[in-house]
């Protein structure tokens, strides 16, 4: 949450429609994602009640557990879900691609694409995690035998849920997270967890404002909750009776069958609206161009997928119940770095996201007003090409002399700050685009402050002309800055720069301290050296018989 996104929310309230906070899509969207809408029975740990699942909006498969407390029925459900999910996942085994070798890495192969599972909200990711946990230890033989696909399902679900914790991973996504990443609604973040309300703001039906559509989306009778929890009035007035009807002794197979059909119909009506919302969200996101770093992050997902598939083929044991102390600490450290890296990547891809960093002083942008492309630095043994440019900005960067910056549009070039000084006043806000007369340093006319415009509730930023009049007093208090930068790299190997490799006057550039470069893993002791304060070296995880027979009541 930053001032920019909060301002966007305020704008959403005023305009009645959600406002974009990104100009591009920052998640990978598969051509064929698997959408899963789960429901659970209230009061239990994770008792599945129903699921609507599929990769085709016109053909979702509805799975229902008509006796949710019956252990056999649950595993039957898991087996059916396994059939769908595992075959979807393994469908991606069929094509591979070659990854060229790089620094210290040989050429290798990985799967050409990876599965992508989409669920409505973070609580459904929790469902996936718990279902994975309750199924991955089961065995196809012995006293508590289950269908052989069930433990495979469990391992894949646990893998997906674990990946979902990695910032920037797109193998398992919650629709509310993704939509809220790209749009600011006119409500609070907690209300954004309701997919119907959020989509109401972002994509209201014709004739309704976002606020009206969101309010409609909160009515559980017309828009059932996206799950996994059901609405209590549905449970009490509809579901309880339908489930009881399926519990009666089956002397009358037809009556029983009718009861099951009735239950299926009622549950279908609970998940179908969410299903449609999910596919609408997918369509919305498909309409946005992807950021340039999305593909590289998806490559990392493909690597993880390939690696886990290999592990499964080699009969690796299921994921242990809990991290060892070292693994937990490593994970936290990794998560922090990954979060920062993901945020930086989005900023480097997307000017609107970068704008947040311009506001916080970690970046600035503006036109180049002067350039010395041929400047050489003769101070060392060899002469080096070190052009100078001057960038004028109305931002307020907090950068020190000597700091190293990079520009998203020139990633292989470093820029060192030589000086930051006040620049002459500009007659209006600087805009990317061709230089306006008066934006080249000269003596611009001082602007006369005019009468303030009457306050208009829906006005955001007035047009440039009136901005001059109304906001001149404030602008006068904050002069633009001129930043002189010394450039290195990205210009070829000669002492004269290759054409186009040095920014020219008039070019609009952004410079920032943010980087997304790889950082080495924080150093942690080897597993075997776990300090005694953390319980000593952890025992090797060996799946136990008791895991297979663990109660699921």
């Amino acid at each position: 949450m930053t001032t920019l996104t909060s301002l966007a929310r305020a704008q959403a309230v005023a305009t009645g429609m959600a406002q974009p906070v990104c100009t591009m899509r920052h998640v990978h969207l598969s051509d064929r994602p698997l959408v899963l809408v789960p429901l659970v029975l209230a009061g239990e740990a994770n008792a599945p009640l129903a699921a609507l699942v599929g990769d085709d909006p016109a053909a979702g498969r509805l799975l229902v557990v008509s006796q949710p407390r019956n252990r056999d029925r649950r595993f039957a459900f898991a087996a059916e879900l396994a059939e769908i999910v595992v075959s979807y996942v393994e469908g991606y085994y069929s094509s591979v691609q070659t990854v060229p070798g790089g620094r210290g890495q040989d050429e290798r192969t990985r799967f050409a694409d990876a599965p992508q599972v989409l669920v409505p909200n973070p609580a459904c990711i929790g469902f996936v995690r718990l279902l994975g946990r309750s199924t991955r230890f089961r065995r196809p033989s012995g006293e508590y035998a289950v269908d052989p696909a069930v433990p495979v399902l469990g391992r894949w679900l646990s893998f997906l849920a674990e990946r979902a914790e990695h910032p920037g991973s797109c193998l398992l996504l919650a629709a509310t997270d993704v939509v809220a990443l790209h749009w600011a609604s006119g409500q609070s973040p907690v209300e954004d967890l309701n997919l119907a309300a959020l989509m109401g703001w972002v994509s209201p039906p014709a004739g309704m404002t976002g606020a009206e559509a969101a309010a409609a989306g909160e009515d559980p009778v017309t828009w059932p909750p996206a799950g996994p929890a059901t609405d209590p009035t549905f449970d009490n007035e509809v579901l309880a009776r339908l489930i009881a009807a399926c519990d009666l002794p089956d002397d009358d197979a037809r009556a029983r069958h009718r009861a099951e059909s009735a239950l299926q119909a009622a549950l279908a009506a609970q998940v179908a609206p969410t299903w449609r919302l999910m596919w609408r969200a997918i369509d919305l996101l498909r309409g946005m161009p992807p950021g340039s770093r999305v593909a590289a992050r998806w490559d990392a997902d493909k690597d993880a997928f390939t690696s886990y598939a290999g592990y499964l083929r080699d009969d690796g044991p299921p994921q242990p119940r809990r991290d060892s102390a070292v693994a937990a600490a490593q994970r936290l450290n990794w998560l922090e770095r990954a979060q920062a890296s993901y945020a930086a990547q989005r900023a480097l891809d997307d000017p609107l996201v970068m704008a947040e960093h311009r506001l916080s002083g970690e970046a600035f942008a503006g036109p180049v007003t002067a350039a010395e492309p041929g400047r050489l630095d003769s101070s060392g043994k060899r002469r080096k090409l070190r052009p100078l440019i001057t960038v004028v900005t109305q931002d307020s960067p907090r950068i020190d002399q000597g700091a190293t910056l990079v520009s998203p549009s020139r990633p292989s070039q470093q820029a060192r700050v030589i000086s930051v000084s006040a620049a002459p006043l500009q007659p209006g806000p600087l805009q990317p685009g061709p230089l306006q007369p008066g934006q080249v340093p000269a003596q611009p006319a001082l602007v006369q402050p005019g009468p303030a415009q009457p306050a208009s509730p829906l006005a955001l930023a007035p047009s440039p002309a009136s901005a001059t009049a109304a906001s001149a007093p404030a602008l006068a208090a904050r002069r633009p800055l001129a930043v002189v930068l010394e450039l290195a790299g990205g210009m070829g190997r000669a002492l004269t720069p290759e054409p186009g490799s040095v920014p020219e006057p008039g070019e609009w550039l952004c410079y920032t301290t943010l980087t997304d470069s790889y950082q080495p893993q924080g150093s942690f002791p080897d597993r075997a050296d776990t300090p005694w304060t953390h319980g000593g070296p952890p025992p090797e995880y060996v799946p136990a018989d008791e895991d297979a027979s663990e109660a699921w009541s």
């Binding site: 909006p57 016109a58 009035t233 009776r241 089956d250 029983r256 009718r258 299926q264 279908a268």
Partner: protein, 302 residues
């Protein structure tokens, strides 16, 4: 059919809205209407199936595929949740028990059987589990809730007419009926009172009796094993760490803990029993004193 479904959907929505707005009267009325609509729908569906079935068709034909009520065209393909994996029969809801000999006994006889085995006042759930484990037929514990009241009525109308009554156990403090416990009238008074230590003492005694019964019957079934296992889990030293269960060990462990509490418990109960015999009439000794609490002298505290 479609209009019935639509009505059903509308009624469901209305009931839910009324329930959410805490309008109790409206909820009741709407629920009744909803029941009727459900019944009508079910009957209509049954008639529809009758017409669709040709003679000789298997009785397990599927109901027609349902599209969404708003006709949005999302085709939902119902998964095969109606059959167990492998297409076998559904797990039966109840195990049919074969009677050991002759017809099943009436409920009070079944309860008497179980109580006699345990020999201590017991709650319905445990009684039901014990009966399941060692006798033919089942007692659903829900049917036991009104049993005490029925027995009291029967006694009051014709005292001591029956050879035994299923009665209450009395709290030592107030000689009031202890909640949720059943006892047998022919037991001595001091076995029918409950002091603070008695719930645990009775539990341990019950464990011993169950373990002994376990050893006596040939081929104890899974219900008996589950019952014994539950006792073993809650008595220190009764389970030896492996999954195998030793009834003799359970009994030994129960006796060992019983030693700790037995004397104190016996004293409390003896004193309470004496008071009961002194102060209560026949019906009250069996079913407890309800109208006036008869506290122990000097125990009223602040």
């Amino acid at each position: 059919m479609e209009s019935l479904e639509r009505r059903l959907g509308e009624l469901r929505a209305e009931v839910r809205r009324a329930a959410a707005s805490r309008d109790a009267a409206r909820v009741r009325a709407l629920r009744a209407e909803l029941r009727n609509a459900e019944r009508d729908w079910d009957d209509a569906l049954a008639r529809l199936e009758d017409r669709q079935l040709a003679p000789g068709d298997a009785a397990t034909s599927r109901a027609p595929l349902r599209t969404q009520p708003d006709g949005s065209g999302v085709a939902v393909v119902a998964g095969g949740a109606a059959t167990a994996p492998g297409g076998g029969p559904l797990p039966p809801a109840r195990l049919a028990a074969a009677p050991a000999d002759g017809p099943l006994l009436p409920l009070r006889e079944q309860v008497h059987q179980a109580l006699t085995l345990l020999d201590v006042p017991t709650a319905p759930k445990l009684l039901s589990a014990v009966h399941d484990a060692f006798f033919a037929g089942e007692i659903p514990s829900a049917r036991l809730t009104s049993l005490r009241r029925d027995e009291e009525r029967s006694f009051r109308s014709a005292p001591f007419a029956r050879p035994y009554y299923l009665c209450a156990a009395l709290t030592a403090e107030l000689l009031a009926p202890a909640r949720g416990l059943l006892a047998v009238s022919t037991w001595p008074m001091d076995r029918r009172v409950i002091g603070p230590l008695s719930p645990r003492v009775n539990y341990l005694s019950a464990a011993i009796r169950v373990a002994e019964s376990f050893l006596r019957i040939p081929g104890p079934g899974p219900a008996a094993q589950r019952l014994l296992w539950r006792f073993a889990a809650n008595i220190p030293g009764a389970a030896d760490g492996t999954r195998a269960m030793d009834p003799a060990l359970v009994a030994r462990a129960a006796r060992a803990e019983l030693e700790v509490h037995a004397d104190d418990d016996r004293q409390t109960r003896a004193a309470a029993a004496a008071r009961a015999r002194r102060q209560l009439d026949d019906a009250e000794q069996l079913f407890g004193s309800r109208l006036q609490a008869v506290p122990q002298a000097g125990a009223s505290g602040e």
